[in-house]
Amino acid sequence: MKFGILVNEGPYTHEASDSAYHFCKAALAKGHEIHRVFFYHDGVNNATRLTEPPQDDRNIVKRWSQLAQEHGIDLVVCVAAALRRGIKEEVLAAGFRISGLGQFIESAIQSDRVVVFGD
């Protein structure tokens, strides 16, 4: 099955990004396809390489970058939501790109299922 993913919450405060990550990993392990992960609302904060958690904690941003690299997943950050929150090209972590909301709608049309992570 082809999945489109929407992440609506930022890292650490909320479990949405963790759950989305684990969902993607599990889906890929079962042979499913992740068409795109779209980051919206505070979810755009998952994309900044300035994130530096304590060493004994998971690095949520790096984990997404690694997943993108290993499986060629398209990580897209909403431009309007990102600019509101100071997320720009120059702070993007590896594997993320900034684009418009249309990318999410397209993903919803192309995918068999859209799964939303957030409140």
Binding site: L101, F104, A108, I109, V114, V116
Partner: protein
């Protein structure tokens, strides 16, 4: 229209008050952008989301943008299927006459059935 010409049934479920969090505003932004894709769109307002349509909002004292006029523009984007969950509206002491745009009231059970018919269900 999408490249494939495919039309899916999109339902946007608005559950949060218009101010206090950014969800209502950013949900509206998705709806307006998505309109360009010529999909079959339904908007639902339930829980505190019914307050998004409460007439006569004034946000000056909050120093935030009053985006309520944008709901009145939805018609220009051919988005005309607006449903308000009856139970949510009534439990907040509101009625259809309090809504800033024409809406249809829908009961919780019926809304559940309608949700089952959708291809893409987005809750904000």
């Amino acid at each position: 229209m999408s490249e494939s010409g495919q039309v899916k049934r999109f339902m946007y479920v608005n559950r949060k008050a218009p101010h206090g969090t950014v969800y209502a505003l950013e949900s509206l932004e998705v709806v307006l952008i998505a309109a360009a894709f010529d999909q079959d769109v339904t908007l639902v307002f339930m829980d505190d989301g019914v307050y998004q349509l409460k007439k006569g909002q004034q946000t000056k004292a909050l120093e935030v943008k009053n985006f309520q006029p944008a709901y009145r523009a939805l018609e220009d984007y051919d988005i005309t299927k607006l449903y308000v969950e009856k139970e949510s509206l009534e439990s907040r002491g509101l009625g259809v006459e309090d809504m800033c745009v024409p809406v249809e009231l829908i009961g919780r059970r019926e809304l559940g059935r309608m949700m089952e018919e959708q291809d893409v269900l987005l809750s904000f």
